[in-house]
Symmetry: C2
């Protein structure tokens, strides 16, 4: 099995791209990554995307995008794991390079969510949940996360205000990320006053509906040593039931626990070795649960890391360093690649005002549904 | 890179499964394959599926099905390449085993198409074509294939009746396949009288809308030598433009040519070495074009193999030996796995009355769209 390096990264700004179609967004991110890598072609393209069928009337993105970027003929396909689709595609790309079946591999996450009316987007996002046991009851995806947050507050005696730090941190970091959707700071007061969406989740607990694409170029580490920007130290996928009621414990993301344990074992690292953690803050509650599952806080104490300022750029475990899903934005199938691109920026000292000092090891964790698929990648500086 | 073996196969009958949901169909095929392999667990599950979001209100099939088969926790994801999704998932499974990242891997293709009204299914199938350049003009997927068939007839001076042999052969073979959807013979007269769908494609040129699931269990060939039922000699994916008007030549499936050339090179074989060919006969015209692209007939002469009886079980190149997409049925995301399961039945002498005598090497080719993704696998007997 060959070691895998990331030799190029690219991203589009996250936002409402009324002037670009899905294939254009993917094109822009891929071209940027190929320029960054200094490669003119590739052996394969794996596309992470969740909702193109529902929101853009288009499946078959692999061949579509391979052709549109001028690489008609190469191996290409789409990989889907709900909001974890981006990291799932990365996992496939890593297998392609590790196996020796391909050398230069493009992995692109892309999602164009703003072309559809809001109620269609809400229905489409619910495809991540269990149709027969959850969605058929009429609950939306934000509603499911609201149940989790309410249960967390109840079980651990945590106030809603305790979550404010996640949003404040994300928006603060997004201000200096030119590719982030939001460049406005959020105060604790603003958080407390934000309009309710699905009690207790308010507008500022929620990541936005948006468009974007991000891409990495993979290659075998040994042969591409001079181009390597970061090394893949671990890649681990784990799953749980889609339906939250059917979990062992709704407040423990078992799939995140397993995925992290596998990743730590592969990289021979512990949580103490991780310099930054791009976690899946689609909702504030997911930040708390992810920090606990990854071993950065005991059960029920994830939220305290935000209250204590430990998640900031100079904190014990910086998260959402470029704004996270909350403020950089969450174009769902693209998110897993944005996370990895941002970790590479940190490990190569290119994160500008958002730089985590001395970052040598970064972890990215992409989650499908409310924890049913969890994909963890650990990257190391070259 | 490790060699990969197929150690188990499973399939459900193809048909209208009103009593089973998508997850049940997948479950049945996977359990059959695991029993066949004599394994009680697996490291990963890759699901080939195209339309679950559109037709079943469910994405995120990887985790959903992993949980439903009792393997909550394992790596799982969905792979999509339109009607080529099944073989695309197989490709990912092969990479997982070849790389050494996984040992026992489940690859399941599943599609449940009959739950939705017909016009929704027609729209959903068109997601395989180019939304911006083809579908937006109002054409359906069968319409696109009709344009190809008309062009073939025009350019080569071939009559519509010349295609009858493909349908007659497929239905003849399906009669003795208990898992086929249709068990009724079709005569040339019946073919000539069949109702027109999109001129010149009639009802008996077209594969049916249906439900089904098929599964293979993969493992490293060396470690699982005693369980191996067939060896993966080649696995090759190639792409072309989705939009037919944008191709170099609409009557040459360039992606099939490239995919076959790569596969032959990997296996160090030529067309003369292939004992049977499970091709993608979604429409009769695709049989003719596939035979030509794979090197079994020169340009414009694919249809003659059917006229001359060369595609029968005792012919020069048997195709659709268990009924093909036309008569076994075409549950789109599952088809690529049905093809491979059938090749394994042939290579292990389990094809019953459909057995191709002395079959030692079989080829399966799964096509996404009207030729935009073509995935070829060559399997060898143990």
């Amino acid at each position: 099995m060959r070691d895998v390096a990331i030799i190029g990264i690219g991203q589009t700004p996250v936002g409402e791209h009324w002037d670009k179609s899905l294939r254009h967004l993917a094109h822009d991110a891929i071209m940027a990554a190929m320029r960054d890598a200094g490669v003119a072609t590739a052996d394969a393209l794996y596309v992470g995307n969740m909702l193109s069928g529902e929101l853009n009337g288009q499946e078959h993105l692999g061949a579509l995008i391979a052709d549109f970027i001028g690489l008609r003929g190469i191996e290409a396909m789409k990989v889907e794991a709900a909001c974890g689709s981006g990291a799932a595609a990365l996992r496939v790309g890593i297998m392609a390079v590790a196996s020796g079946l391909s050398d230069v591999v493009l992995v692109c996450g892309v999602e164009k969510m703003t072309d559809a009316p809001g109620h269609i987007t809400t229905s489409a996002l619910a495809l991540a949940a269990d149709q027969e046991y959850e969605v058929s009851q009429g609950i939306s995806f934000v509603g499911l996360n609201a149940l989790l947050m309410r249960r967390y507050m109840h079980e651990y005696g945590v106030s809603k205000e305790a979550f404010a730090g996640f949003t404040v941190n994300a928006h603060r970091n997004a201000m200096t990320n030119p590719n982030a959707m939001f460049h406005t700071p959020v105060t604790e007061t603003a958080y407390a006053r934000a309009g309710m969406i699905a009690d207790p989740i308010n507008l500022l607990d929620s990541s936005p509906v948006c468009d974007g694409a991000a891409c990495v170029v993979l290659a075998p580490a040994e042969r591409y040593r001079s181009k390597a920007k970061a090394l893949v130290l671990a890649s681990a996928v784990a799953t749980d039931s889609l339906a939250i009621h059917d979990r062992r414990d709704p407040l423990v993301l078992d799939a995140a626990v397993i995925s992290c344990q596998k990743a730590y074992a592969q990289a021979r690292l512990t949580p103490a070795d991780i310099h930054l953690f791009e976690l899946h803050d689609a909702f504030s509650i997911m930040s708390a649960l992810s920090l606990e599952a990854a071993g950065f806080a005991p059960r029920g104490a994830g939220v305290r890391l935000a209250q204590d300022g430990e998640i900031g750029l100079a904190g014990r475990i910086p998260i959402s360093t470029m704004g996270g899903l909350k403020a950089r934005g969450h174009p769902v199938g693209a998110t897993g690649l944005y996370q990895v691109v941002e970790v590479v920026l940190q490990l190569t000292g290119q994160a500008g005002p958002n730089q985590v000092a001395g970052a040598r090891v970064g972890m990215a964790q992409n989650i499908g549904g409310s924890g049913a698929t969890v994909i963890t990648h650990i990257l190391g500086a070259v």
